[in-house]
Amino acid sequence: MSFTPAEWSLIASATVAILMVGSLHVRVNLFGYCVLTVLISLATMFSAIDHHETSMFYLAGAIALLKGISIPLFLYWIIGKLKLGSDSGAVLSAPLAMHLNIGLTIMSYFLVSEFPVPLGELRTWVGAMAAISMVLTGIVLMLIRRLAISQIIGFLVLENGIYIFALTQTRGMPLIIEMGVVLDVLVGVMIAGLLMFRIQSSFEHIDVSKLTDLRD
């Protein structure tokens, strides 16, 4: 099996996403998210070289700066403010969830091999597999965690998966749309961060599993 550099970075990022599930420390998860996003930005750069698209270089830079560095820094700041250490986890223990995730990756491999490939298109099953695997990883991350900040991280991983799918299954989207998505995510995370401050000040915790017990 020989892959292109872009495919290698996508595989590495999907692997990092799986390894993230195994740790309940919020800081470790954020670092994992940072590494994963920088790998995706590298993949964008490599496919820009492959497809000779100048606009994708700007996109790669924007992803690395906005999603890969700004968002983790902002969330680090929030963690410091809210004094969060590690998630206590829910439903499944972290190692089991990580092993479950490998099962989901195998499932996405078989799912992707059923995809119809348009004539004359490049072989893109690796990218599609990494994308679907990462979306599922994001869902698992959101399902098995208690803290609101872990839900945000899970959502960000899921969003990265969707981006990878768009990157590998099309010949590049218009720059303006991608930039819009990146900025939307940035704004979304900022609003979610502010909401967490509000939840913390109202309820003195951000444990989402306890929010359902609310009585007035």
Binding site: M1, I18, L19, P95, M98, I102, T105
Partner: protein, 322 residues
């Protein structure tokens, strides 16, 4: 086999075996030396010389021995059996590129020969009659049980792609079936490094430098050994470390081989460099990491298992594609 050989081949083979024997005796001491030196340097100390392990062995060999009055022949022969077993393993496991082709090197045989040496370590520790030996061996057995599936799965996924369980065939330089699988080699190599950290009771699992009753694992099993007995056990452990690091260094070298092909002559130096490089990395890792709480150890092992499962996934995917 010997009758059919010409004189030149015979001399060449003999020279290979002698070189291999020299490397087998020197490398463990250097590996331990590099790990200790790195740890000392990271703590701002000069550290003992690289060959300190050799001087320690000489000192221990000259010391007299104290044996517990409850100990039987099992305790007395344990160290010898372990060393013999480890020397046998070092001729079977392809941990260095110039290893002469010996007898069969089936991977299941190798994994369970490692388990056999652990069995004798546990028996000797129990036989000494010390309570520390008992709890040390119970912890050691627990860890072995947890880490065995991971190391076995990593090797089996290589074997599946190579279509052979012979380690010499899997790790052979001329094997085309595994020639273009850097991902699989990398995953298997990393899984083996992590498994060997647990197997050797090194840092995130057990701190080899402390002798606190509540936390020690491997050291608790050595407490009753002294003099020559201890020297043999220390050397066995160093040899085990070298063989395991060598095995994973070979995995990394094969992974790298896909991008940049090395000449065959360089392979021996690369293997030695790989082992010492891994020892350096382990030293660095040990100086920055903390010993894990006993309850957290399965989480560390689960990462090792994850890498093995990913390697197995790659192996299965290859089977489907071809």
């Amino acid at each position: 086999m010997w009758q059919s050989m010409s004189t030149e081949t015979f001399l060449f083979e003999t020279a290979r075996w002698i070189l291999f024997a020299v490397i087998t005796f020197v490398m463990p001491i250097l590996t331990i030396g590099v790990v200790r030196k790195t740890r000392a340097r990271m703590q701002g100390r000069m550290g003992a010389p690289l060959l300190q392990a050799l001087f320690d062995l000489r000192k221990l060999m000259q010391k007299s021995e104290a044996v517990s009055s409850t100990a039987t022949w099992i305790f007395r022969s344990g160290a010898g059996i372990e060393l013999a077993n480890m020397l046998l393993l070092s001729t079977l496991v392809p941990w260095i590129a110039n290893k002469p082709d010996g007898v069969s090197s089936d991977l299941f045989l190798i994994v369970y020969l490692f388990a056999l040496s652990r069995l004798f370590a546990i028996l000797a520790a129990l036989d000494s009659g010390s309570p520390f030996g008992a709890f040390g061996s119970s912890r050691d057995a627990t860890l072995a049980m947890l880490v065995e599936p991971a190391s076995l799965l990593a090797l089996v996924s290589l074997a599946v792609v190579a279509k052979s369980t012979e380690m010499n065939v899997i790790f052979s330089l001329t094997n085309v079936l595994l020639a273009h699988d850097p991902g699989l080699w990398f995953l298997a190599g990393t899984a083996i490094v992590m498994a060997s950290l647990v197997e050797l009771s090194r840092m995130p699992v057990d701190d080899p430098a402390t002798h606190l009753e509540l936390t020690m694992i491997h050291e608790a099993m050595l407490l009753e050994s002294s003099g020559r007995n201890l020297a043999l056990r220390e050397f066995t452990r160093a040899l085990k470390m070298t063989v395991l690091f060598g095995l994973s260094a070979q995995c990394y070298l094969r992974a790298w081989d896909d991008f940049w092909h090395f000449p065959v002559v360089a392979q021996v130096w690369l293997s030695i460099g790989g082992i010492l490089g891994l020892a350096l990395l382990v030293g660095l890792f040990e100086s920055v990491s903390v010993k894990l709480q006993w309850r957290k150890v399965p989480e560390f092992i689960s990462y090792c298992m994850t890498l093995s499962l990913l390697a197995a996934m790659v192996a299965v995917a290859r089977g489907v594609v071809h």
